[in-house]
Subunit: 155 residues, 2 copies
Amino acid sequence: MATKPGTTMNTIHRFLSSELAGEIEFLTARTRSLGSARANKLLEPLDLKVRSYSVLSLACSGQAPTQRELAEFLSLDPSQIVPLVDQLEGRGLVERTADPNDRRSKVITGTRSGEQLYSKARKATAEGEAVAMAKLSKVEQETLRDLLSRIAFRD
Amino acid sequence: MATKPGTTMNTIHRFLSSELAGEIEFLTARTRSLGSARANKLLEPLDLKVRSYSVLSLACSGQAPTQRELAEFLSLDPSQIVPLVDQLEGRGLVERTADPNDRRSKVITGTRSGEQLYSKARKATAEGEAVAMAKLSKVEQETLRDLLSRIAFRD
DNA sequence: CTTAAACTCTTGATAAAGTCAACGATTAAG
DNA sequence: CTTAATCGTTGACTTTATCAAGAGTTTAAG
């Protein structure tokens, strides 16, 4: 009776000392997997997923992103942006506008109702973030935000 | 001529002040996207991907994980572990052993050559991590590791 | 001005990853 | 012994990722 089945907590604990558990790559992968699952649940009542939420957020940011810029900032292929914007546009949440300066590009902007939905969605993701970081102090949370953004945007 | 095309650096800079860029959820998603792309390139010469590398790493950890435990720790479905282990086993890098205490479970352990390959792979991922965190001081790197592991394993 | 090259969005094909239900073998509970 | 639960596995299915090519637009060169 050396190795008992092991509950969730037990299993995790056994591998905490493994080399893998110390790798940033693994830690971010696991964090984002858990976080995105939680965020998707919270966004479900609004008929949004993390992806569509991210697009909506940038569309409502006042920065007037083009689809190309959305793809780059979200680490997606430009062809993946198309159906995301299609869906949001079909719901009247965002608008495609030809960029006057370069009619190849299409600027994505949030509509009135898009901004209203984003406002609700933002509260949902903020709640998810609060749950995720509950174990950290406010100072630690800001430290984490700062360190992560420095490696997410290095260049 | 207000909005010029915008290079990569330019685009990112424009959205740094957006609400989205301040969300942990987004920062971890972007970090892991960039990190896993870089890690996959570095692991390619060894015919490994981040996924198979993670399984190999735990198989060589001395913790004798079952497939169920691998799935849970790696945030994967148990059915996704099967082809990963199949592949590693086919290359003679790991072994499936029936757990004597519970013959339903199969313990995955690294072979001699599995450990040799893991040793090389570990150096590759360590190099990738060094590149990713180049902008942080040693102290900051350890702080990030600590904060991330606390939210990746809260419970 | 004209032509060629480069860029943006879009489509479509294909591969990879994620989700879920069900099955045989095994173990645990009653 | 019977029933329920667990583990690995398979298969079907959906979603996401990757890539090439095309139509329209802009830029640069000649």
